[in-house]
Structure formats: C-alpha cells, structure tokens
C-alpha cells in the first residue's frame, strides 16, 4: 500500500474509533437519562423523582385490575417481581393492555405511594405466535409442572 493511502486509512480508523469512544463515554454518563422508565424497585429505593412526573414500567399483576364504580378509573398493580406499585388511571387503555402484560405508565407518585397515571402504554414482547401454538405451549408447561 502506498504511504499516502496507508496514512489516510489510519486517519479514517482514528476518526471512527475517536467518535466511537467519545459517544460511548457520553452515553455512559447519560445512562440513567436514556432509560425510558423507572422500575418499581427503583421507586421503592427512592431513585424516582417524588412529586414530578416520570414513567414507570413493569408487569401488570394477575388479578389486580379493578374498576372504580361510576367512573372510568381503573386501578392495577405493577411489579418487577421484587417490588409492586399501585397505579390509578382514568382513560382508554391500549389494545395490548392485559394482566401479565408489560406496560409503561406516565404520571407521578403521591405521598401514599399511589401512582396516578396520565398515559398508559403497552410494551409488547418479541414473541410472535399463532394462538394454537401458545395454547399448546401453556398446556405442555402445565403438564411439566404437575
């Protein structure tokens, strides 16, 4: 390789590596701010801001969804298996909202630990299956447990 071309090759390598390191360090420093939501454990540990809005993500606990009479308000528990936060929300839920589903709620937590959501988003997992297959898998799992 001609010296001039080798020099340009090294320069290109340095450019890519330098930008990579700089952006990597910046992202490492911003780590917490890039996360879309806080987990119930982070809320329990006091890492989430109190009084100002933030997003809370977790799984809807099975059997915890309840509707308040004479209103659109709905209450459910969100868990990350270690800690649980109760969420209150008034409004229309997305199609994928159901018990056992991951969701992200935007809102703020009050002094009693109740999270009042202004928006609820469903987080879809990466599984794509026809219903029969899921039924078969569930049955197989149930038989394996017994």
């Amino acid at each position: 390789m001609k010296p001039k071309r080798r020099q340009r090759l090294v320069l290109v390598g340095l450019l890519v590596a330098g930008v990579g390191i700089a952006v990597g360090l910046a992202l490492l420093a911003l780590q917490e701010n890039i996360n879309l939501f806080f987990s119930p454990s982070q809320v329990a540990a006091g890492e989430a801001p109190v009084g100002s809005p933030f997003r809370l993500g977790g799984m809807v606990v099975d059997g915890s969804v309840s509707r308040v009479d004479q209103s659109l308000e709905i209450r459910f528990d969100l868990t990350d298996t270690a800690n649980t936060v109760t969420v209150a929300y008034t409004g229309i839920l997305p199609d994928l909202f159901r018990e056992g589903q991951g969701i992200v709620a935007q809102g703020s937590v009050n002094d009693n630990g109740l999270f009042t959501a202004t928006q609820v988003l469903a987080k879809h997992d990466e599984t794509y299956m026809p219903p029969e297959v899921i039924d078969a898998l569930d049955k197989a799992k149930a038989m394996g447990v017994q």
């Binding site: 879309l36 997305p94 994928l96 988003l121 599984t127 794509y128 299956m129 026809p130 219903p131 029969e132």
Partner: protein
Amino acid sequence: MNNTTPSAWLVRFHRLGSPPSFYHFSGLIIPWVSAACLILIVAGLYGGLYLAPTDYQQGESYRIIYIHVPSAWMSMFVYVVLATSSAIGLIWRMKLAEAIARATAPIGATYTFIALITGSLWGKPMWGTWWVWDARLTSELILLFLYLGYIALVSAFDDRRTASRAGAVLALVGVVNLPIIHFSVEWWNTLHQGPTITKFDQPSIAISMLIPLLLTAAGFKLHFLVALLASVRAEILDGERRTAWVAELLARKKHA
C-alpha cells in the same frame, strides 16, 4: 506486487471498477435482479398477509412487520454500504466507490422513513401512542437525519469529488449510531421490544410467520441492489458525459 500474471478473474474484477465496464455489466444484470426481487416480495407478501396465521396477542396488526422489519434492517444495512464505500473513496480515491456512496444515501433515507412511518402506524393501536422518545426510536430518527445531512452536504458542493470527500467524513462519523440502534433495546429500558430473530437464542417467532418475513427481507435486499445500480448508472453517465465511450454509446442509441 509479484511478477506472475494475475488470474483472469482478478483482471475482470479490477476492470469492473472502471465506470464503462461497470455501466455495461450492471445493465446486463438489472432485469434479472428486478425479476427475482419482484417474485420474492410478491411471494413474501402473499405468505405474510394471507397464509400466515394471526398472532395470539396482536391479532392482524402484527402483519405490518412484513414491511416494517425488512425496511428497518435495510435502513441499517444501506448505511453500512454508505460508510464502507465512503471509506474506500476517501482512502483510495476510487471514483466508482464515491458514486456508490452518493447513490446509497437517498435509498437508505427512504427505507428509514418507511420503517419510522410503519412503526408509528403500528404503535398507535398496540402501544397506545404514535411516538415515544425511547432509545430505539430516537436513534432510528437520528439515522434518518444522518442520511438527510449527508444528502444536503454532498449537494452543497459544485465539484462532486470534493463533495464525496466531505460527505464521507460525515458518513464515517455516523457509523457510531449503528451499534446504538441495534443494541438500544438491550442496553436501556425501551418501549420498543427486543430482537426476535437476530438474537443468539432460538427466534421467538412461529416458523409460518418467519418464512414470509425472510422472503420479503431478501426481496428488499434485491430492491436495494436494483435501485443502487440504476442510480449509479445515471451518476456514471452524468460524470463521464464528456468522455469518448459515452459519446459512442449515445451514437449507438441514436442509430438503434
């Protein structure tokens, strides 16, 4: 360099790097690649929209993946081509590599735009929002801006060689965004789901849904090849319009 005669294949490959033979060769393969592309996309869409079963949770809405996922993959693949040909153009000053880099950017921008729009259309019914500033969506939007920035920068210069060199630096700086897009769903909490197929584990998608997806993905790859070749051919004609071989080509076209 050694003194033995290089193999016939190597000579042919090197010759392909010259604009006239690239122009000739690409003209020969474009019809074949277009036909294969059309067959793959039609078969993939038929399989995906008609034959594949409905999803256990998302119902029919999941079928947008047959457009969304291939264009999202292509948005990143095209950037790899853009960055690689930019580096080759920058280091070896090869005219053909510069032409390829300039031609890829609008194609890549289109795929990125399609991925963002289809994702947004799916996000409203499924997530409950058109857009959310999570790491995956934001980094993909930055990719679109990188493409648009490259196009704007390159078209701001009158001289196309200078333009290619300036654009190449921008393209190489943007490479850092590619691993961020790919790993965003693993490094941070995002609303966007994790990878289904490109993970080391077994893919978590039924085989009857996966096959049409792979067909459309292959079709999109060939579509990129056709669009790239056609646009590089136009670039070559424009760049070489004062040369003898283009004049000869024109004369032959007029006679025919």
